[in-house]
């Protein structure tokens, strides 16, 4: 067998093991190590694996992952989300579908201190669902709104998935974070528009909440929004201005969130201890996954498969945009079954060279891939966010939530289409930052 054939064969093997319920990290480790041992030697396969694992764990740039993950859990356990929701609720609650729009706004704001969609989904469900129930919101509509809006948690920096894309491709995490901001706001607007239009068409879905005097609105914005704006400005502002590296931003961000939570007296010792234990658990999962993905991609690199696929993509007689749309379709389909974090590490060794060889901006590509993966967390059968929301809501059929998700899915499609036509939307802030540094 030629190296290339071994590389090609590794892909069905990978999927078979994956569908046999072996955790993704072990799948990539097993396939990567075996392939490397076959093409090179068992000794070198072992040696490379041990080195890769240690150098992934003891890595200054990668320690940004545990830090941002912990920051998100501190925000989660300290109930910062309820204050955020209070602000957006008072601002928008009186519009048709206003509570759903408030939830979408709150997810965006919470995404600014939390880098995970499931954490955003869990915390916002706990806060927003009881309110929507009180105003007789349709259950399918309210739960679907939260599940979808939680995607904004990864578009707005900090975002673990952007970090992993940066790590896997060597692209700047700083620029990726900046690139997510405007598309994130665009997606938020599209989601809000979706919720509003749906409620205008069928007022029973989301009846307007109580109207609130302007003075109260401003007060709520000031008290609920200030802390989040403070943390976001320190972390992302510092990163944008070049005061610190992403890792430092993670450290400062976790510290600032901790200080804000302690100052508000909202973080108990138990909450603090849970935030740490969850952060270790999740970080170990992500970093083991990333180490295994490195082993797998080093194996793929010696097979020559990534460059062969890239060459094929260039020679294929279709316009580059069609190729990129097909790549996104692959992401969408795989995302139906595989979690985005794992998927991005598994597939970038192959698709990243395709995008760059075709002349697309790698930062822009990262943004639309993350969007395409976002669809996976709200679609059956694996839609993680939907299960999280259903778990918090209790007594709702998962299929009812999936039914409510369709319009939001359309909004994500629209957002991707807009970004394909106007890549500047994603690239504006990164370009600005490059000029300033």
């Amino acid at each position: 067998m030629t190296s290339l054939q071994v590389g090609l064969l590794s892909i069905p093997v990978l999927f078979i093991l994956l569908f046999l319920r072996l955790p993704v990290a072990f799948v990539m480790l097993v396939v990567g190590m075996s392939g490397f041992a076959y093409l090179n030697s068992p000794e070198s396969a072992l040696s490379i694996t041990a080195q890769t694992i240690y150098s992934n764990f003891a890595n200054y740039s990668l320690i940004v992952v545990p830090l941002f993950v912990w920051m998100g859990f501190i925000a989660f356990y300290s109930g910062l989300s309820s204050k955020i929701y209070d602000a957006t609720y008072k601002l928008m609650g009186s519009l048709p579908g206003g509570l759903a729009m408030a939830t979408i706004g709150a997810c965006t704001a919470f995404g600014a201190i939390c880098g995970s969609t499931t954490a955003t989904a869990a915390t916002m469900s706990a806060v927003a669902l009881p309110e929507m129930k009180r105003y007789n919101y349709d259950r399918s509509f309210s739960t679907a709104s939260i599940a979808a809006a939680a995607i904004l948690g990864v578009m707005i920096p900090p975002s673990v998935i952007f970090i992993l894309y940066g790590v896997a491709t060597g692209e700047s995490i700083r620029l990726l974070f900046l690139a997510g901001i405007i598309p994130g706001i665009l997606l938020m607007s599209l989601f809000m528009l979706t919720a509003c239009l749906k409620s205008i068409r069928d007022p029973a879905l989301g009846p307007p909440g109580p109207s609130i005097p302007l003075a109260d609105k401003l007060k709520a914005l000031f008290s609920g929004g200030m802390e989040v704006i403070f943390i976001f400005l320190v972390v992302i502002g510092g990163l944008f201005a070049g005061w610190f590296t992403p890792t430092e931003a993670g450290g400062v961000g976790a510290f600032a969130t901790l200080v804000v939570s302690l100052a508000r007296g909202s973080l108990s010792w138990k909450g603090f201890s849970n935030s740490l234990s969850d952060a270790i658990r999740l970080s170990a999962m992500i970093m083991f996954l990333s180490a295994a993905a490195f082993v797998y991609s080093r194996f793929l690199a010696i097979t020559g498969l990534p460059s062969a696929v890239a060459t094929l993509a260039v020679e294929i007689p279709f316009p580059p945009v069609v190729v990129i749309i097909s790549v996104l379709a692959v992401y969408f389909v795989l995302g139906l079954f595989i979690d985005g974090l794992a998927l991005i590490l598994m597939t970038t060794p192959i698709f990243y060279p395709v995008a760059t060889t075709l002349g697309f901006d790698p930062i822009w590509f990262g943004v639309i891939v993350v969007l395409a993966l976002g669809m996976g967390v709200i679609t059956p059968p694996v839609g993680a966010n939907v299960y999280v929301v259903a778990g918090v809501a209790g007594g709702i059929n998962v299929m009812d939530i999936f039914k409510g998700v369709w319009p939001y899915l359309f909004a994500i499609f629209l957002c991707i289409a807009i970004l394909i036509v106007f890549p500047e939307i994603a690239l504006f802030l990164p370009e600005l930052a490059k000029k300033n540094l």
Partner: protein, 165 residues
């Protein structure tokens, strides 16, 4: 078996708590470094200390992660099988994971010993690196034990056709 299970669970949880301390230290180090750097000069050796703490926090967290079943896996297909077939599939894949993880654990100690023999230290503070590689190796040994425990449980499930109580 229950006794063995409890011990493994305890060890994986305890060592992950050391990892938690490491995470807090990483944050404090980074914040101190940023604060000192702005008006004065950076804390010497911050980068390498953070790296070594990273090895502690992730190396010692990896077994706990497996213990809590926090890894990402795809269960849409296997979930549809009868319980005993599920147990059989899990036993086969579990054996595969156990085999490869054991190899990696062993190799980490070989790698650590090589670094010890070469006298490899960090660039600034001259801290020897090998103890930290050994520590990650220890984390992987505990991971192997957790995987072994899970494997035994699936084999029991397969032979008895129900979960042990």
């Amino acid at each position: 078996m229950i006794f063995f299970e409890r011990i493994i669970e305890n060890i994986s949880r305890r060592i992950s708590q050391l990892g938690q301390v490491a995470l807090v230290l990483v944050m404090l180090l980074i914040v101190t470094n940023v604060i000192l750097r702005l008006p004065w000069r950076p804390l010497p050796g911050t980068v390498e200390m953070v790296e070594l703490l990273g090895a502690i926090l992730l190396g010692l967290g990896i077994a706990y992660c497996q213990q809590k079943k926090s890894h990402i896996f795809v269960s849409v297909l296997v979930d549809r099988f009868p319980l005993r077939v599920q147990a059989l599939v899990d036993a086969v894949t579990g054996l595969l994971a156990l085999f490869f993880t054991s190899l990696v654990a062993r190799q980490l100690f070989i790698y650590g010993t090589r670094m010890l023999e070469r006298g490899y230290t960090t660039g600034h503070l001259n801290i020897p690196v090998y103890p930290f590689i050994y520590l990650v190796g220890v984390g992987f040994i505990i991971l192997v034990l957790v995987l072994l425990k899970d494997l035994i449980n699936t084999v029991i499930l397969f032979t008895k056709g129900k979960e042990q109580t």
